[in-house]
Amino acid sequence: MRKAWQPFLVAVTLVTVAAALRIWPLHALETRLAWLTFYPAVILTAFYGGFLAGFLGTILSCLTILLLWPAIAEHPYINDTIDWLGLLIFIGNCTLISGVAEAMRRARARAMESNKSLEAANRDLEREIARRQEAEEKIQTQNAQLEQRVRERTAELEETYRALRQNEERLRQAFDNMFEGVQIVSFDWRYLYFNDTFVRHSKHSRDDLAAHTVLELYPGIEKTNIYTVYERCFKERVAIQLQNEFKFPDGSVSWFELSFQPVPEGVFIISMDITDRKKAEADLRKLNAELEERVIQRTEQLELSNKELEAFSYSVSHDLRAPLRSIDGFSNVLLKEYQERLDDQGKDYLGRVRAAAQRMGQLIDDLLGLSRVSRAELRRETVDLSAMAQTILGGLQAGEPDRTVNAVIAGGVIAEGDARLLSVVLENLLANAWKFTQKRSGPTIEFGVKDTDGEHAYFVRDNGAGFEMKYADKLFGAFQRLHGSAEFEGTGIGLATVQRIVRRHGGRVWAEGQVNDGATFYFTL
């Protein structure tokens, strides 16, 4: 910025320069054109510094002329009125020039001012334009992004739509080809969808189903149970499953397994024709009932024959023995009271009669024992077989105190079973061992338990008469004997009884032996 005093310095300087120029080199002009150099000085000052500077230049120029003039002309400048006029003209001209210069300066200043604001406005405008451009670019970028996203979303939607279409197609195909009937019924009872199976189930044509409501196709359905199921599914929006016997308008009847599912449009129903299954079930029920009836009848028959058998046993027990008692009793009376009149042969015959009667009595008792074993209720408990064997052998020893038998009884042999029946088993086996060792020197009877194939096999072993292994399976049949009565007495029922008891316990019995080298009887429980 120009300082306020600069115009005045310019005025002083220029006037000084003008004065110097006028004195020298223009002194040749002498007194002529006295103001020649001062005009440009004032004009320049005015144009530089405005009116005030111009006016100062004018005054300074006047003072300079008035002061310096004697150095040029050797006389004062003012000599006459013309000189005053010249001075006044100079002042007037210069003032005019200063005014014009001032006006021009101001005009220029104003022009510059307005130019400045114009430039500022221009700059604002440019900034605005730049901002707008930026915004526009941003928008364009956003637009591009948006478009990209729209494209992506569209692609996604298309993909989804395609997937949906595919899915729908798949579902439709699945429904169409389902073994079960599928139908969608709207709230106004129209078929919105149905598959081929349902068409078969419905006993109507595809066109009929498409053109009519359920109520039109099955008049009277309103009075049936299935109608209330539809209604419930429509109104309460609940899933219902049921088996339904459906009567068609033509009078035929089919059974359907139905699944009702509420869907937004109405109800979705899956149906399966179970008429055949129902028929099979009914047949099966009938068959079962018949079978049950037959089982009941058979059981009754069995119970009856069991009762008869019991009555028979009872009767045998009472009645069959009575005559034997008479035979034996009166033979005995004869032998005692009529012995003088009987010779030895007669007595021998009577002895045979008695022996036979007693043998038959034993036979009857053994048979009854065998049948009792089958009828008796099995009560399982823990049984000490060692102690049991000890007691039985003690009893046998007491019966024949003269015999010496080496008894080897393993201690602590425990079994689960019916104590009474197991006692019968051991009685029979030990009595056999006792019996078949009677003709042997150094008889030994052994009782113990042995693990074979993971099961406990209890055994009774003796070193007596033994038997041939090829007859081993005959041992356990009723009345089967491997020895004659004369050799060893017996009824042949004991081992049959043993086998029956063991089998009733779920076990098995077998024997090993060799003639004259003893026998071993094993049993499991």
Partner: protein, 155 residues
């Protein structure tokens, strides 16, 4: 019969089989048991005797046997029923009753004891064993055993 019964101990044998009746009496004799034996051939007759009814109408029912040998399988009324009625009647409630029968069926033995039999003896087929059993029986019930009726009403 009535007179001697009043004083001496006697046996009531309820037996329908005449052979068994004869053999029982023989066995008793062999065992030197001299007591009188009254025989009833079925359940009805036994009850008539005990309670003075039917064919035994008017009999003095205070005279009771020392022991009753009772077969089970009897015509008309069977042995178990006879036993039941004896035990149900105040007059015979404590009479000794020995069941003497062919059967060894568990149900018979259990029912016999359940109805209050004093003893259960099975008749063996072997006559020697049979007379041995009868001997023991007579000895026990007629000699060793104190009869409750005699204590209650001495002559």
């Amino acid at each position: 019969m009535a007179k001697s019964q009043k004083d001496s101990r006697f046996i009531l044998l309820v037996e329908d089989n005449p052979d068994d009746e004869l053999l029982t009496i023989k066995a008793l004799k062999e065992s030197k048991i001299k007591n009188e034996v009254v025989v009833a051939h079925d359940g009805v007759e036994a009850l008539d005797f005990l309670y003075g009814t039917g064919t035994h109408k008017g009999r003095d029912v205070r005279i009771v046997p020392d022991v009753i040998l009772l077969d089970l399988k009897l015509p008309r009324i069977d042995g178990l029923e006879v036993l039941r009625r004896i035990r149900a009647d105040e007059r015979t409630k404590i009479l000794p009753v020995v069941i003497l029968t062919s059967s060894r069926e568990e149900q018979d033995v259990m029912n016999g004891y359940r109805l209050g039999a004093n003893s259960y003896i099975r008749k063996p087929v072997d006559f020697d064993n049979f007379s041995e059993a009868i001997r023991h029986l007579g000895l026990y019930w007629l000699v060793l055993n104190e009869n409750p009726n005699r204590i209650r009403s001495p002559q």
